[in-house]
Symmetry: C2
Subunit: 306 residues, 2 copies
């Protein structure tokens, strides 16, 4: 069951207390796709410049990610972002944002992508997210991410867009902003009235909460010995989450997704987010194996059972 | 199996976004004892002034808490603390601290308390904590709490004291301060080398982590619809934790406490902390039943299983 992933492919410059990398592969769609690729075939929709390096194409291709939908703009430059994390890595300062070719990103789905049943819409303009979904007439499960900027300045478009989604993945501050409620239980109830019957609220190092008509599920954050670089952890969570559901062929029944599979998907999301932090950028995915993923899933079992 | 609880009994003035109460029963030993009393008989060691109201004596007595060790100082006034919580209730400002009779608290154990096997030392001067333990020759399980002030200014005395404890209950910032490590996994490893083989790190609304030689256990925070007043929640956690262990007759074997019982104790602690927040001060304990406690324990099961 193939998954279509839409979002940014970028180069990042990142500085954490563990070191500094001036330029490396990044972007939400990159992280989502790499994480999801351990569970299901992935087809990416993105835009890059002609500075996009062959070694980065090769990494994505090594995970069998379909790049037919990755547009390359001649003479253009790939989206570049640079940031620096605080000592405790709970805050980061953006040092530079060069949108480059991403400023005019107009996602085009190759014909080969249109029949696919799974769609993950990374954090881009809500109207573009809506257009992409409209181009996939056979989609069975749609969800995605958004951010404060769209919630504040594109609220009507965002509400119009997520009304059609099966699930929404956002962090706690975004959930509070979107709902106008501080309490997460109340915030979730309001957001689920906006369309998505399933909501995942990410809480960074504290894990994630799944809200579902049948009740909620609280997943812990994995206790890492060292966080090398948290960049992309939230996107890897999304990739593990949707990747697992797609790989299992899970689809909503009467608008509702199976709660047990969703709980497992949240744990696989947490597993992938935790691996992401162990090395800089996407480096962990160069060596990560399915055996390691299963072992960490078991660790989540062991540290939560009572 | 009786539990001896040592700490403050006080009057509190509390303001939260839900209201303001100028004077009500409070204090760490009060909350610990009330929470523990649902699991095991409790004997309290504390000091109050002759302003301590009969209705408050009656509340403690109604939970069968032994008050033989609650010294009443003639002409003295009971410890008074007043504070105001921020809108999100994650911060609080102390408005007033009148130590009164608590300034000279010198815990005296009635002879009837000395043979007891369980001891919970609330947050008081480390040397006093040590003296109390020294007066209980048959104690099987000892643990307690401390705070930043003792960690910073009484470090040698604190280290000397906790060296004899079976478990330590502190929050994340205290664990970082005590260990000098930001990462909680590393912090826990260092603290467990200081004596306590079991460590519980409380993370407020995010729950708690149990560290034990056999591995760690992550308990979520309960998602309340409304937090009326978080005062005493950490102490109620301690009360539920030690109360459950005492009620079950759990004692260390070769210095190590049974890990499965400890996990359940952490959940009962979380259950009691969550109830505490539902009303102002100790009000929730005026009506709370064992059936409600068991139902909430089951809710913790339901929202963590996968």
């Amino acid at each position: 069951m193939s998954l279509v992933v839409v979002g940014s492919v970028a180069y990042d410059g990142v500085e954490t207390p563990h070191g500094k990398v001036p330029r490396m592969l990044g972007g939400a769609a990159t992280y989502i796709s790499l994480a999801a690729s351990y569970f299901t075939p992935v087809r990416i929709v993105a835009v890059v410049g002609d500075d996009f390096a062959q070694e980065d194409v090769d990494l994505l291709a090594s995970r069998h990610i379909d790049l037919a939908g990755m547009e390359r703009v001649p003479g253009g430059k790939t989206f570049f972002w640079a940031g620096k994390y605080s000592d405790d890595m709970n805050d980061r300062t953006t040092l530079r944002t060069d949108l480059n070719v991403f400023a005019d990103f107009n996602p085009k789905l190759p014909d080969s992508y249109r029949p696919e049943p799974y769609l993950l819409l990374g954090n881009i303009q809500p109207e573009l997210q809506k257009i992409v979904r409209g181009q996939m007439p056979h989609v069975k499960l749609t969800g995605g991410d958004t951010m404060n900027y769209w919630i504040n300045d594109f609220r009507p478009q965002l509400l119009e867009t997520i009304r059609e989604w099966d699930f929404l993945l956002i962090n706690d501050s975004e959930a509070r902003l979107l709902s106008g409620e501080y309490n997460l239980r109340r915030a979730a109830a309001k957001i689920m009235d906006m369309g998505p019957r399933t909501l995942v609220i990410k809480r960074g190092e504290y894990g994630a909460i799944l809200f579902h008509p049948s009740g909620h599920f609280i997943a812990p954050g994995y206790l890492l010995d060292d966080v090398f670089d948290p960049t992309g952890a939230g996107d890897c969570f999304a990739g593990g989450f949707i990747g697992y559901l797609a790989g299992r062929g899970v689809a909503p029944d009467n608008g509702t997704i199976d709660a047990r599979e969703l709980r497992r998907a949240v744990i696989y999301g947490s597993v992938m987010g935790s691996f992401c932090c162990e090395k800089f950028g996407v480096d962990r995915f160069r060596t990560l194996t399915s055996q390691e993923i299963e072992a960490r899933y078991q660790e989540f079992q062991d540290c939560t059972a009572f």
